[in-house]
């Protein structure tokens, strides 16, 4: 460990040398300091080779110092927390961090697949499309798996993510995105006006470029100035400073998406803390101060470890006190990069050579460089690099080619403002000749841009622009902005000569390092006609993956522009879409995963049913008792058969609280019901319930249920469990939009009332022991509905309804009494052997009785199909009536509802089987309909079914085939009436 931090300067930087952070890379242990990123700590420890490239497995190093990083992608953590493709440059160093290089085998230093490099001539743009064409069957089985093994980056953890993620919403007047010089000033001026401000920055330390700035601001070091403003902001009650937070998208109505990396800088999140938090920030105004990204120059060998953006060299030296190398050279086309090198030199770096493509450079810069002993080569270009990691460069000058020793080559081709968020509403960026870069065009409403993101390249100007943009945003919202002073910083002129690509340089010249796209690939795309930037992107993969071409897009399209002869603005950019930086699936899912994917609703008797040993099943949003197994029962069918038999022989009970329940009150409820049900309700007497069917306006059945009239102006409706919300919304639409003149008020009471059904010949005996009043046939006849009390004074509604074909009642009590009611009924029924039953038995009994249910109310059936044709009133209009008369829906050949029994009674029926006439070939043209529901009938002792078959009711007794190609079965069935038990209804009227 003697070499630990050998590239660290002895003083300076924004690191805490008293707080060491131990970490490992590919199993080797190193030490860094608090304030390091993984990248700065690797460089401090002399680690320059950090990964292998995507396609050619070329050795790659650290290229940048920020979110734009294309190369230094590592696997972070191990086991279930293993996270691939993590950018080392934005990974905050923590004690115990474990990182592994990616895409190498068997090791980073010796990578067998780097042979791909020698295949490079064959692996160019469009290679996959051209090469693996034949035979077609080979693609899935042979080619794709091999390509996937050879290409690609990290490995995802194959275990469940042990961490949890949160979602949160925040509101503010002014959202400031980016806490660099412009962002800090914008937030400060807006905050001092009293506006509620959120300042979000992706870094763990606010300050942005100020943290890598060598000079003073406001008579103090730039980082101290940034820290001072950040501290003032943090102290204001109307400001929330969110570090480690990336604003990744601009959505409609001033809504911004942001990802807060709450615990990514810790080995394991603190107790009860999420790993990440996904924010929805609703802002009245926003200031984008996301800065600019430096872009490289493309030349042969520009991907060798040791080649790095010039600004990144500056950041590592100034902010992290790390020397990326011992012997630095610069290759640039602009003045800014010179000043970065001069500052780095002053801080202790050794800069030996500056290569500038420009023939003319400001004399004072040349003088300053030469005064420090830096050799200057003007009008020169780097044409090749050498070394495993960089050892030397070849430079072409006017007088010839020379070889220059350097272990680090700082590169700068200028700066590209981070305009991405300004384009999220479709705005196109505009080309600015002065800085040879795209600057914001039309912005999303309420979003202003400040500082470098707007194309302002100069610290003093960024501070002023930030303050002014922050003030404008606050003023636009009606806040009074107090006078504010902006520190003066003298900005040197920004001089740049556009230069993109060293033509004729030696070796592969990479445009997009992350996707291994070379200048030659852009040429191939051009030659083959993929010249539009959108096609260029898809054909070559330029600009895809985690960095989204942050350092390659403009260069790529500049090269394309030079090939086509069009200008860069004519060539245009691809469209920037959210997210700006990668967002983990975990954060997008938040708590909605596994059991918490969506909340489960529990019935009022849930705990009681659990105590009875119920097996539960999710039905829609509800968890309901499926059946109640007893010791010794070998399968569900045995249990369900016992439950059905017990009901038919004596009595059983089931919680039916999940039905939608709607309270209707007003003078016009009867008229209203007449318009929403196909059958008449206006004449429904007080104390009676009626079954009704509702259509959609297109004439198909929407739902069924019963509605009871409790008093002249008070009705209660039930809907199916599945359609409860839909029906309620539909009724509200009818009332509020179609017939606002009707005096009806609706209220959902599904949650407020528990409802338990009891069924079987002994049902009345049980009810009589629980109800406080008379429940005789005279007092509560079939389809009767009365209000009363049960269990000595508990308010109740009693309905005499049956879904099973047996004598049946439904008892509704306020939800809090639901469990007590179940217990009271069990007690009252003990002598009759009362049996709790689940929804399986409920389903069996309704099939035996021939009632339609969800499988038949499929959204494709008409009232006529389901046998309700005669129920439909001809004396009134109702929703869906006109459209139901369309020829296609009134066609007598439509499949209609009947029952089925197997000809061989020992055979099992299958739902989903299609009906074919005897002798007909199994073709769609011969399809007669299909089986919708099946059950084993304990009553009959064989399987029965319900289904829809062409002209079904006219074909009773006919035999057809039930054809089930999915299960490979075909059996003969007989069409019968859809009522297998008590078709005359003697039992339920008893």
């Amino acid at each position: 460990m003697s070499a630990t931090n050998r590239n660290r300067l002895s003083a300076g930087g924004l690191i805490d040398r008293n707080q060491t952070r131990g970490f490992s890379f590919d199993g080797t242990r190193h030490r860094g300091y608090a304030g390091d990123t993984l990248a700065s700590a690797l460089l401090a420890n002399g680690v320059r080779l950090v990964g292998r490239s995507f396609k050619y497995h070329r050795p790659r190093g650290i290229f940048s110092a920020g979110a734009e990083e294309p190369n230094a992608l590592v696997e972070l953590r191990t086991g279930a927390r293993r996270e691939p493709n993590t950018r080392a440059t934005v990974t905050e160093l923590y004690d115990g961090l474990e990182a592994t290089s990616q895409n190498r085998w068997p090791s980073l230093a010796l990578d067998a697949l780097s042979l791909n490099r020698f295949l490079a001539p064959f692996l160019g743009a469009g290679f996959y499309y051209k090469t693996f064409m034949w035979p077609a069957a080979f693609w899935e089985k042979v080619y794709e798996p091999i390509i996937r093994r050879a290409a690609g980056l990290g490995r995802a953890a194959l275990e469940e993510d042990p961490d949890h993620y949160e979602k949160a919403t925040a509101f503010c007047d002014v959202l400031v995105i980016g806490a660099g010089p412009a962002g800090l000033m914008a937030a400060l001026t807006a905050a001092r006006s009293g506006a509620r401000v959120i300042l979000a920055d992706e870094d763990f330390l606010p300050g942005g470029g100020l943290n890598a700035e060598a000079g003073d601001v406001d008579r103090q070091p730039a980082p101290a100035f940034a820290a001072g403003i950040a501290a003032e902001l943090a102290s204001l009650p109307n400001v929330r400073v969110m570090t480690r937070t990336s604003v990744f998208g601009v959505y409609d109505g001033g809504t911004y998406g942001a990802l807060e990396r709450v615990s990514d800088h810790l080995a394991v999140p603190a107790p009860f803390q999420p790993r990440q938090r996904l924010w929805r920030i609703v802002a009245r105004r926003a200031v984008l101060a996301a800065g600019a990204t430096e872009r490289p120059i493309v030349f042969g060998g520009n991907d060798r470890p040791g080649v790095m953006l010039a600004g990144a060299v500056g950041t590592y030296v100034q902010r992290h006190a790390v020397l990326p190398g011992r012997n630095i050279a610069l290759f640039a086309n602009n003045d800014g990069a010179w000043r970065d090198m001069l500052a780095a030199q002053a801080a202790g770096a050794h800069v030996e050579t500056i290569v500038d493509v420009r023939a003319e450079v400001a004399p004072e810069l040349i003088a300053a460089a030469q005064a420090k002993g830096i050799r200057v080569l003007k009008g020169a270009q780097v044409i090749a690099t050498h070394g495993r990691t960089l050892r030397s460069l070849e430079v072409a000058t006017a007088s010839g080619t020379e070889r220059i020793a350097a272990d680090t080559l700082a590169v700068s081709g200028g700066w590209s403002p981070c305009v991405h968020l300004t384009c999220h509403h479709g705005g196109k960026p505009a080309w600015n000749e002065d800085i040879a870069a795209f600057v914001p065009g039309t912005c999303p409403p309420g979003l202003s841009v400040a500082g470098a993101a707007k194309g302002i390249l100069g610290l003093g100007a960024c501070l002023r622009d930030g303050a002014e943009t922050g003030a404008e945003s606050a003023r636009a919202l009606g806040f009074t902005v107090p006078a504010h002073e902006v520190p003066e910083v003298a900005d040197a002129a920004f001089a740049l000569t556009p230069f993109w690509h060293v033509e004729g340089s030696k070796g592969a010249a990479f445009v997009d390092l992350q996707n291994d796209v070379t200048a030659k690939d852009v040429g191939i795309a051009h030659k083959e006609g993929f010249r539009s930037v959108e096609l260029l992107k898809r054909y070559t993969t330029l600009g895809m993956a985690t960095d989204q071409g942050r350092t390659s897009n403009v260069t790529g399209l500049a090269i394309m522009a030079s090939l086509t002869g069009a200008s860069i603005p004519e060539t245009g950019t691809t469209i920037f879409r959210p997210p700006y930086t990668p967002v983990s699936m975990g954060a997008l899912a938040g708590h909605h995963r596994g059991k918490d994917f969506r909340p489960v609703r529990l019935t009022p008797t849930h705990e009681w049913a659990r105590a009875q040993g119920a097996v539960f099943i999710e039905t829609g949003a509800w968890l309901r008792a499926q059946y109640f197994p007893r010791a010794g029962e070998k399968d569900w069918l045995e249990t369900v058969t016992r439950e059905v038999t017990a009901v038919r022989a004596s009595v059983g009970l089931i919680d039916v609280s999940t039905f939608g329940k709607i309270d209707l009150q007003g003078r016009d409820v009867g008229a209203f019901l007449d318009r929403v049900y196909i059958n008449g309700f206006a004449a429904l007497a007080v104390g009676k319930a009626r079954y009704g069917v509702m259509l959609r306006e297109d004439g198909l059945v929407m739902d069924d249920g019963t509605t009871a009239r409790l008093s002249p102006e008070h009705y209660v409706m039930t809907t199916t469990t599945a359609n409860a919300a839909k029906v309620f919304q539909h009724l509200e639409f009818c009332l509020q939009v179609l017939w606002p003149e009707l005096d009806v008020a609706l209220s959902s009471i599904s949650e407020q009332w528990a409802q338990i059904a009891i069924a079987g010949p002994r049902a009345r005996d049980v009810l009589a022991r629980v109800a406080d009043g008379d429940v005789s046939n005279a007092a509560l006849p079939f389809m009767g509905a009365v209000e009363g009390t049960v269990m000595d004074g508990v308010k109740a509604r009693l309905f005499r309804l049956s879904f099973s074909g047996e004598l049946g009642f439904e008892i509704a009590v306020p939800a809090r009494h639901g469990a007590a009611l179940a217990q009271a009924l069990m007690q009252a029924g003990e002598t009759f052997g009362i049996t709790p039953y689940g929804i399986e038995a409920l389903g069996v009994m309704r099939i035996e009785k021939g009632h339609v249910s969800g499988s038949e109310l499929s959204g494709q059936t008409t009232a006529g199909d389901l046998g309700f044709g005669r129920m439909a009133s001809t004396k009134k209009d109702y929703i869906g009536r006109t459209m139901a008369a369309r020829p296609g829906l009134a066609d007598p050949d439509r499949p209609a509802f009947v029952g089925f029994r197997p000809v061989d009674l020992s055979r099992r029926l299958r739902a989903g089987a299609h009906f074919l006439n005897r002798g007909a070939a199994p073709e769609t043209a011969n399809d007669q309909g299909y089986m919708t529901s099946v059950a084993y009938s304990p009553h009959l002792g064989h399987w029965i079914g319900l289904g829809l078959i062409t002209r079904g009711p006219e074909r009773l007794g006919e035999r057809v085939r039930a054809y089930d190609p999915v299960r490979g079965e075909e059996i003969e069935v007989e069409i019968c009436a859809p009522g297998f038990i008590d078709p005359e209804g003697v039992r339920l009227r008893g």
């Binding site: 959505y251 409609d252 809504t255 179609l738 006109t882």
Partner: protein, 90 residues
Amino acid sequence: MRIPCPYCGERDAHEFSYLGDATLTRPDPAAADAEQAFHDYVYLRDNPAGAHEEWWYHANGCRQWLRVTRDTRTHAISGAAPARKSGEPA
């Protein structure tokens, strides 16, 4: 998207469900051309580029149907009014 509910204030669009064109009127079922009129009412929709009046239901709020004016090109919402005019029974 944010919808300015006249009862609940500005709320996120997630609280609402969408129905579509709010300028349609349910045809008179007794009219001679009722079948054609209902066909058009149920199935035919314009798809304007620009201002569009449409029904939104505030399911996770006041349960009111709102007539919302939205620009289909920008999602800018310029107004939201209750379906039921004041004075009518609620």
